[in-house]
């Protein structure tokens, strides 16, 4: 499904240019959930921005494909239409654009890019009501501008709302657990688990083991200094939680 081979990428321009991703290789087959863990500054967020095509991040080598298609050549919106969804570590405020307008515009834009019909207003409303109820989002919240005045937990729930509405083929969750209390963590994880399916892949970026208690990964990768230095099963996350990164880092060195 998602296949990254020997990817290198830089951030910044001219004298400020810095190589952050230094030969990253990773494969997430359809139906699997992989976790990426790693110390601060390892390149976890950079990896998610490089894969989704944010300006200011330049790929200098290697490849990344989704279902065989080279995503690195696509515009960010084309990558979204191809099924790539990033749940942001810090969801962005969009003043003046209500949630419902935003999600419907996004859904129809993706459908248009894929050459599909727009969703009818009635179908959209029905679906959004059902999803909102699961995530305990009130209709009033969905009328408010995207993320404006939302608490940290509400913002993350809104990310999951968008995910469940858009039903992307591949999810990248960038520290979705940060800023969540126990209840919110459960709601968010339930949402994510509901999306697990044989034809969907997920990459869960996290600092902490606790999210992986709720979203159980098939594999755990350790990202350090711009590349994957260790891969294992869920037990690897437990070991990291107990020992910290030092042990794994010294083994790799």
């Amino acid at each position: 499904m998602l296949k990254i081979e020997n990817l290198t990428a830089t951030v910044g321009e001219d004298d400020e240019t810095k190589e952050i991703i230094k030969g990253l290789t990773l494969e997430v087959p359809a139906g699997e959930v992989h976790a990426i863990m790693g110390p601060n500054g390892a390149g976890k967020s950079t990896m998610s921005y490089v894969l989704t095509g944010r300006d200011g991040y330049e790929v200098t080598g290697g490849s990344a494909t989704l279902n065989g298609d080279n995503i690195l050549e696509m515009e960010p919106e084309e990558r979204a239409a191809a099924g790539l969804f990033l749940s942001f570590q810090y969801p962005v405020e969009i003043p003046g654009v209500p949630v419902m307008t935003f999600v419907r515009t996004a859904m129809n834009s993706q459908r248009k890019l894929r050459g599909e019909e727009e969703i009818s207003a009635a179908d959209f409303l029905k679906k959004s009501r059902a999803v909102a109820a699961k995530l305990k989002l009130t209709p009033e919240m969905l009328k408010r501008p995207v993320n404006v005045g939302f608490s940290g937990g509400e913002k993350k729930r809104l990310e999951i709302f968008q995910m469940m509405m858009l039903e992307p083929g591949f999810l990248i969750l960038d520290e979705t657990d940060s800023g969540l209390d126990i209840d919110a963590l459960r709601i968010v994880s339930d949402g994510v688990n509901e999306l697990r399916s044989p034809d969907r892949g997920m990459l869960v970026i996290t600092h902490y083991q606790r999210l992986l208690d709720h979203i159980q990964p098939d594999k755990v990768h350790v990202l350090a200094n711009g590349k994957i230095i260790a891969t294992g099963g869920p037990e690897l996350a437990l070991r990291l939680e107990k020992e910290g990164y030092d042990g794994v880092l010294s083994e790799a060195a």
Binding site: T52, G53, R54, D55, E75, P76, E77, R79, A80, A81, F85, L86, F88, P91, V92, E93, I94, P95, G96, V97, F102, V103, T105, A106, M107, S109, Q110, L113, P145, Q162, L166
Partner: protein, 402 residues
């Protein structure tokens, strides 16, 4: 007349032609006062402080001969309102309104500070100026449509809104070429409420000046909002006088200025009595080759204690080469007031754009959506149906250009 001509320091062809137009009109002492007030400045240029960003003299070097270039219609045609065309005879007015005078030549108050308005008032021919009394709230809003096609248009409409009356006006200022100076006056009596909604659009050869002077008595209120797209040079000027206590004014506006267009939104609010409130929010966006001017001034007299006045202007530069000139000013002589102004000029938030694109919204659409939402805040207080008409127009404009 020779004396008048001498008043122009160094007349250009247009000023001589304007003097010629004046000479051809029926003499009248008020008309003469208005024209003299204009002649003291002539067509204002960048060395006239109030016009430092809008060089009218340069924009009108000689008077145009023909007006019509393209058919243009106002977005307000779809609004549920009673249309009044200014300049085509004595209009039929709805119940509660009457024409008090078909030729209102009264000298314009403060004309020396408003040379172009004084010119407009001086050059109105019979049928081009009206004094209208509003004694009862009309059932529907009134939609004023001004001359859109004449090479030179000078029109004036003055309203007296009687005590306690609610009066809602839509103004369409559309020009398909030529030079125009339109003057509006609203005298809003005690407890009366004026709603003024404005649509301005013109071609890049039109030079258009609209001046509106609003007087608010005790407990009177003004709620103003609108959208403007500019012209070769368009100036939409609003002057508000808080003459009474507890008067309230909200003067908001949105603008979108494209390549080849210039839009100047200038306002002056004078607080003369205690306990008055003014709120102003102007938001707009400019493209490469477009220029927007915002000049806002709040004057608070020594006597006007407890004045509460807030001014904000926020602009987006959508492309390199767009230009925004802003001059917010407070001049306060009272010591117990709450007054503030804020001004920002910036670009669209790149993080928000990426977030939207990551969700599948193409860049141009994301930019249009963000810009529309940005300027839309200035129209939030409008009645929903009217606000939507203007927002739809803004959306179409952005989609076409981004």
């Amino acid at each position: 007349m020779a004396a008048l001509k001498d008043l122009f320091p160094n007349p250009n062809a247009a000023e001589l032609e304007l003097a010629g137009l004046y000479a051809g009109l029926k003499a009248n002492p008020q008309r003469e006062r208005n024209f003299e007030a204009f002649a003291q400045t002539g067509l204002p240029h960048t060395r006239v402080e109030a016009w430092k960003y809008s060089d009218l003299r340069n924009a009108v070097q000689s008077l145009p001969e023909a007006g019509v270039e393209t058919e243009m219609t106002s977005a307000f045609v779809s609004a549920d309102a009673t249309v009044i065309e200014i300049g085509s005879g004595v209009p039929k007015l709805p119940k509660g309104m009457r024409v008090a005078s078909e030729e209102n030549l009264t000298a314009l108050g403060g004309a020396e500070d408003l040379p172009v308005a004084a010119l407009g008032a001086a050059l109105t021919r019979a049928g081009q100026s009206l004094l209208i009394e509003v004694t009862q709230s009309p059932e529907k809003p009134v939609h004023l449509v001004f001359d859109t096609v004449s090479a030179n248009a000078f029109q004036r409409v003055s309203f007296v809104v009687r005590k306690g009356v609610q009066f809602s006006v839509l103004e369409s200022h559309i020009r398909s070429g030529g030079f125009s100076s339109i003057v509006l006056e609203y005298s809003v009596e005690a407890g009366a409420a004026l709603e003024r909604f404005i649509y301005q659009k013109a071609v890049t050869s039109a030079v258009q000046v609209t001046t509106c002077i609003i007087h608010l008595a005790d407990d009177a209120s003004l709620s103003q909002a609108g959208i403007g797209f500019g012209a070769k040079l368009a100036r939409m000027e609003t002057q508000v006088y808080h003459h009474g206590e507890n008067a309230k004014a909200s003067i908001n506006g949105a603008y979108l200025v494209g390549d080849g267009y210039h839009l100047d939104q200038t306002s002056l609010v004078r607080h003369a009595q205690p306990h008055c409130e003014t709120e102003q929010l102007v938001k707009g966006a400019v493209m490469d080759g477009g220029r927007a001017v915002f000049q806002g001034k709040f004057f608070v007299a020594k006597k006007a204690q407890k004045t509460a006045a807030q001014m904000a202007h926020n602009a987006l530069i959508l492309e390199n080469g767009g230009e925004v000139n802003a001059k917010p000013e407070l001049e306060i002589y009272a010591d117990d007031v709450e007054c503030a102004h804020g001004n920002t000029v910036g670009a669209l938030d790149e993080t928000a754009l990426f977030y939207m694109r990551q969700r599948g919204i193409p860049e141009t659409q994301a930019r249009a959506l963000l810009t529309r939402a940005f300027i839309g805040e200035a129209l939030d207080d409008m009645p929903e149906a009217l606000g939507e008409i203007l927002m739809e127009e803004a959306g179409a404009w952005l989609t076409e250009r981004l």
